[in-house]
């Protein structure tokens, strides 16, 4: 079976007919006509992107610890050191090895999560077949530059992780990762003093670049279970996609 996302708009891509995309009638009860990846009992796909070393794998492990008890989850990793990431998750005791799938990205990590998501969808399919009832697949991107974002065809929601040690100018530099991700995480705030980063500037720049989209600051050395991000993910899971 091909996954349902081959026809994201239910048929020929013109499913919303001639209706106006926004209904201004506050009493209207019709379904949201916006194109959304439908929720048809397939796992929720959460993308975690960001530069090399910002803490994507550490956050993935934290989410596995925080959510693994209550949520049936699995991980797809796109890192070069694929077995290392899998080993890390195994050693951390947070995930069975058969719940981790590694993707080869053809030396082009942003292509594999954005322009041609085939290899990642194949990995998600393998996990879904192996683990009936899978509810959440976390897809960790390979470390990439600030322009690399997940295709909406692959990730239902995406988190972009930057770190304080990368410099407090990163949020200001913008790029689609910082400006459009559903959640921006500024990680390693424990290091701010050591690298002379101004947290107030970083956070206010982030909000200025992102408008209403949320920003979470955290340190995984101080709070290894990433409680704020885990709460955000729980909230996303609670809302069926497309509703």
């Amino acid at each position: 079976m091909l996954p349902d996302n081959t026809r994201p708009h239910g048929g020929n891509g013109h499913g919303h007919g001639h209706r106006h995309p926004v209904n201004f009638d506050p009493t209207a009860t019709e379904p949201d006509p916006h194109a959304q990846t439908p929720w048809h009992g397939r796992p929720f796909r959460l993308g975690i992107g960001g530069p090399v070393g910002s803490g994507k794998t550490a956050l993935t492990a934290a989410l596995c610890r925080a959510l693994g008890g209550a949520v049936n989850l699995a991980v797809v990793t796109n890192d070069i050191y694929t077995t290392e990431d899998a080993d890390f998750l195994r050693a951390a005791g947070v995930l069975d090895p058969d719940r981790v799938e590694a993707v080869q990205t053809g030396a082009c990590p942003h292509t594999a999560i954005r322009d041609d998501i085939t290899a990642n969808l194949d990995a998600v399919d393998r996990l879904t077949e192996r683990h009936p009832g899978l509810e959440l697949v976390i897809v960790e991107s390979g470390g990439d530059n600030l322009t690399a974002v997940f295709s909406r065809g692959l990730a239902d929601r995406q988190i972009f992780v930057v770190d304080v040690a990368g410099g407090d100018k990163v949020p200001r530099k913008g790029g689609p990762g910082v400006t459009t991700a559903d959640l921006l995480v500024i990680n390693k705030i424990d290091l701010a003093d050591h690298v002379g980063a101004d947290m107030a500037v970083m956070v206010s720049d982030a909000h200025r670049m992102r408008g209403a989209l949320p920003v979470i600051t955290q340190s995984l050395t101080r709070t290894p279970n990433a409680p704020d991000v885990a709460d955000w993910v729980r909230a996303q899971l609670a809302v069926p996609l497309g509703v």
């Binding site: 080869q104 053809g106 194949d122």
Partner: protein, 231 residues
């Protein structure tokens, strides 16, 4: 002679940006580079010529035969699929071909309506890439020779961009190498389209033991190591 119909689809299917997962396959280049068999443009030239004449020809022959079969009424999809298996001795290469076929199917179903495509899938499960390609070419109104051209081009375009990424080769020099293959690719398309009407078992069967071995060792040696490409 009428010009190619369905030209846009032919060009889109040949384009490396077509989203069917081709960019994660190096066609043996990653393993050859790891073994020091390809270090410069000269080595890559030999590799690409060899690949086009062997793996490229097999793919082109089956893409053309699939395009021909899709245009007719009685297609032997299991026969074509099995005969392509028989011409692909390396399990790793068979897996790579089926993985890319599945990727092409996913992208193809979102873009084309084709009864032949449904028949191909219902009778073979996870068909080989050249068969899916041939069916989509016919669904677009193009012909068996176009299918062969695209399949032959794929056999060298992906490996050449893998070489650029892995070795940092001069992209202009590598692109010039591809263009050097112009006459070869025309000959290959002629050969492949001339055999497109044959029964599956009678289709040409050129072999490439070196590529088979590279694919196998890529699979074995890199299972536990750093590997950037899936094949």
């Amino acid at each position: 002679m009428p010009g190619t119909r369905g030209g846009l689809a032919v060009l889109a299917l040949a384009d490396s940006r077509f989203p069917n997962g081709g960019h994660v396959h190096s066609g043996g280049v990653e393993e050859a580079v790891a073994r020091g068999l390809i270090t410069d443009v000269g080595h890559l030239r030999e590799f690409l010529f060899g690949r086009l004449r062997s793996a490229g020809l097999v793919a082109a022959v089956f893409a053309a035969a699939a395009a021909h079969a899709a245009a007719g009424r009685r297609a032997d999809w299991p026969g074509l699929d099995a005969e392509l298996d028989a011409r692909t001795p390396s399990p790793a290469q068979r897996a790579a071909s089926r993985a890319q076929g599945w990727g092409l199917l996913r992208a193809g179903r979102a873009a084309w309506q084709s009864q032949a495509l449904s028949d191909l899938v219902s009778t073979t499960g996870r068909p080989h890439h050249p068969l899916v390609l041939g069916v989509l070419i016919t669904a677009s109104g193009a012909g068996a020779r176009d299918a062969a051209l695209v399949a032959g081009y794929h056999s060298v375009s992906g490996p050449s961009s893998a070489a650029v990424r892995l070795l940092g080769l001069d992209p202009f020099a590598v692109n010039a190498l591809l263009i050097e293959l112009t006459a070869e690719l025309d000959d290959l398309a002629d050969t492949a389209s001339a055999s497109a009407h044959l029964p599956p078992a009678d289709l040409p069967a050129p072999g490439s033991p070196a590529l088979d071995l590279l694919a196998e060792s890529h699979d074995h040696h890199h299972r536990e190591e750093v590997r950037l490409f899936a094949s």
